[in-house]
Symmetry: C2
Subunit: 443 residues, 2 copies
């Protein structure tokens, strides 16, 4: 890429403003897809290849194990595509998930507790529906923000109430105190978080998860733990199956959990839409009569399977389930070190952060309790005096895209940077653009 | 199968009663899955192979075209499984669907109007959600019954009201009059039907569809037309692409439609969970401000794609979309006569009906307006003096399973028979069992 000669930046302001207006957009509330399209158009009109930090998608090619296993099954079992999948999932994947949970989280669940879904999105959707429909008043989902905006759209689709706590302001005991205050109102049905967190890359500590877990039990709230970035807090080596340290999970501290593990990021298998939700054995058998209003059953497990999985998609495509099973099996048996492949993201984050910090930016979320924030899939930047939208606007003028933090439920003004797509040959260009942007902003 | 010597029928009544009680079942309200499990257990305990007329699943092996295309793509495009599918579907499938619609229904839609879903279930789920959330008062889904019970569970999940009209009592002008009465209350957001109908195999006539279509337009109600059994009214030859007769559709008469076409039955591709919803070009762009309450947008098309497909599953697995595209393409180009393969179901239905009618049973739904009901995937039986549940109970004692009609919203007492799984070598056994059952009931 040699777009620096002649220097096209800053891109024409009128052109950008017009594109924003023509498409009825607002950088304060823009969705990821709208931003993608805006950047596509800008890129085309200006003949500039953007650095696409706004996409939160895998930047690696999936290990061939998964596709090869799908191919094998499609060849050897001609009746499989004709057969409805069991609504509660293909037995091989259920078994492999339980093994993976034991080996990498050290928790004990049975295959029957492991329910395949059409991506983590599907798991979060049904988990929210059940958590906030167990009692008439406990119809609010609490979000530990910042977070993935679409999870809040799911609550909206479901007609649920939403509350938010920003992890920037609440960590450690302060977080637990805040949660207890909210849980004690009796209005919270479920609390949802991702750890590592999208977009801030905050990772909840064991003592925080313990505190949350105890409160979940005490107030009968369900924890929805979305571990899309399983094991990717690279400050710790979670890569050895059956050996500590283990991926921290609230399941160690409560029976009131749904855990969601997706193939999209850890196995770069986003295209085949497959994930699993793990329901604790105790929660699976719990009964709430109010569930009947929506699911024709009072039992959590039945509500998930027959009231949720069946009514939304009637299960998950057969062969992608087999692909995910093969990844879980190989990871659990120590044959496939999936985390070593993913470390490249941390390396990219380290290099990219360095550049932004060098030219007048700061990390929006810089601390993870007493530690520095980890390097991984995402990080967040801010700049003195700039709101999320104006910062993004100026970045766009210099061929840089990212997600405005205010769309993630954050109380901080800044932009999310996803490093998954940046290539090693682009860091020089990145430095050039950030330096130019900095000069522009300080002059 | 030579279970007739010695004759094990009727199976032990106490054993059946106990199994029903132990599992907390009620034959009046039993779900398909519960019935499957009950029959499995009965079959095992009595060492009798049941004739499984209760499953509504394909009985054929999918043409290899689909799996081969999935295999080809998985081999040739290693980055595809790593790439999120577009939420509105893979372009090739969108284009193939529009072509298929033109060739087999003679309707004009664009690829952008064709939205892949995770099976027809997913399409019906989102279609109901949108239809009944366009206005605060129009929050009722009207079912043209009998129907697939899970569609009503979907309405329940969505918190929608449900009303029902039984096609047994209302056909032709009577149906149209009844619908107008209901539509004019302003409470109906959508009306859902399948034609050919599951379980009755009723096929709505062109003049009925015209009447419905005109009312949909007049009262701004959305028609949700689930054509799971596309082209399978074998009284008419719908198999020639681009030539009449065409599969009848309400789309010929209104712009207010969602059409749902599934790969499960017509291509026997149930296992890979892929279908399409076709939204009329006009409806796609219609705006209703109340939609914003649930979907963050007032536009029907956006609500379906970003509010519905994105929030529930973030799209459909990549390679199954390609498989379905290959079927649609081959069918539309005249290279693959998918309907000729499916005629076997009609032949089975004809033979099985004859046996039931010979031994004191009648068809529950026997007429299709002035015509005899068509032979296809399902038919319905009844018997003087028997309720749905008692009829099923006695059938079970003779190794015959089926779905009690009262669970389908029918006002008729009877049982649904699905012929998809019966093999040609089983008809003799079927006749033996039905004859024995008849003797038992009349003595």
């Amino acid at each position: 890429m040699n777009q620096s000669n002649p220097n096209p930046f800053p891109l024409n302001a009128t052109l950008i403003e017009n594109l924003i207006k023509e498409n009825n957009l607002n950088l304060c509330s823009i969705s990821i897809r709208e931003l993608n399209r805006l950047v596509d158009k800008l890129s085309e009109k200006c003949s500039v290849e953007f650095l696409r930090f706004e996409f939160g998608i895998p930047g690696l090619i999936a290990n061939r194990m998964g596709p090869e296993e799908e191919i094998r099954i499609l060849k050897e079992n001609p009746s499989l595509p004709s057969t409805y999948p069991p609504f509660d999932g293909v037995p091989r994947l259920k078994k492999a998930t339980a093994l993976f949970c034991k080996k990498f989280m050290n928790i004990d669940v049975q295959p029957e507790n492991c329910l395949p879904t059409v991506g983590a999105m599907h798991g979060c959707f049904i988990s929210q529906a059940i958590s906030a429909r167990r009692g008439e008043n406990a119809n609010t989902i609490l979000f530990l923000d910042p977070g993935f905006p679409v999870n809040k759209l799911q609550a909206k689709f479901l007609g649920l109430n939403v509350k938010s706590v920003d992890l920037y302001n609440y960590r450690g005991e302060k977080l637990i105190d805040k949660l207890e205050k909210l849980f004690s109102t009796g209005t919270i049905g479920g609390v949802i978080w991702s750890s590592p967190n999208n977009p801030s890359w905050i990772c909840l500590k064991g003592k925080e998860l313990k505190g949350i877990g105890e409160l979940l039990t005490k107030y009968d709230v369900i924890g929805i733990e979305d571990i899309a970035y399983f094991g990717m807090d690279f400050r710790y080596d979670y890569s050895v199956p059956g050996s500590p340290p283990y991926q921290p999970t609230v399941a160690t501290y409560t029976d009131n959990y749904f855990i969601i593990i997706s193939s999209s990021k850890i196995f770069s298998y986003a295209g085949q839409r497959v994930a699993v939700t793990i329901i604790s054995p105790e929660l699976m058998n719990k009964k709430y009569s109010y569930l009947k209003t929506y699911f024709n059953t009072d039992k959590v497990g039945n509500a998930f399977i027959h009231g949720g999985l069946y009514t939304t998609t009637a299960g998950v495509a057969q062969t992608p389930q087999i692909a995910l099973a093969s990844y879980f099996e190989a990871a659990s048996n120590g044959q496939y070190d999936f985390l070593s492949e993913l470390k490249i993201y941390a390396e990219r984050a380290k290099k990219a952060k360095k550049i932004f910090l060098k030219y007048g930016f700061n990390l929006a979320y810089s601390k993870d309790m007493e530690e520095q924030i980890s390097d991984g899939f995402y990080f967040t930047i801010k700049r003195e005096g700039f709101n999320s939208d104006t910062l993004l606007y100026h970045m766009l003028r210099f061929g840089l895209a990212g997600i405005p933090l205010n769309t993630t439920g954050s109380t901080i003004e800044g932009v999310r940077i996803c490093v998954s797509l940046i290539r090693s040959d682009q860091f020089e260009e990145l430095e050039f653009r950030v330096r130019e942007l900095n000069s522009f902003l300080i002059n």
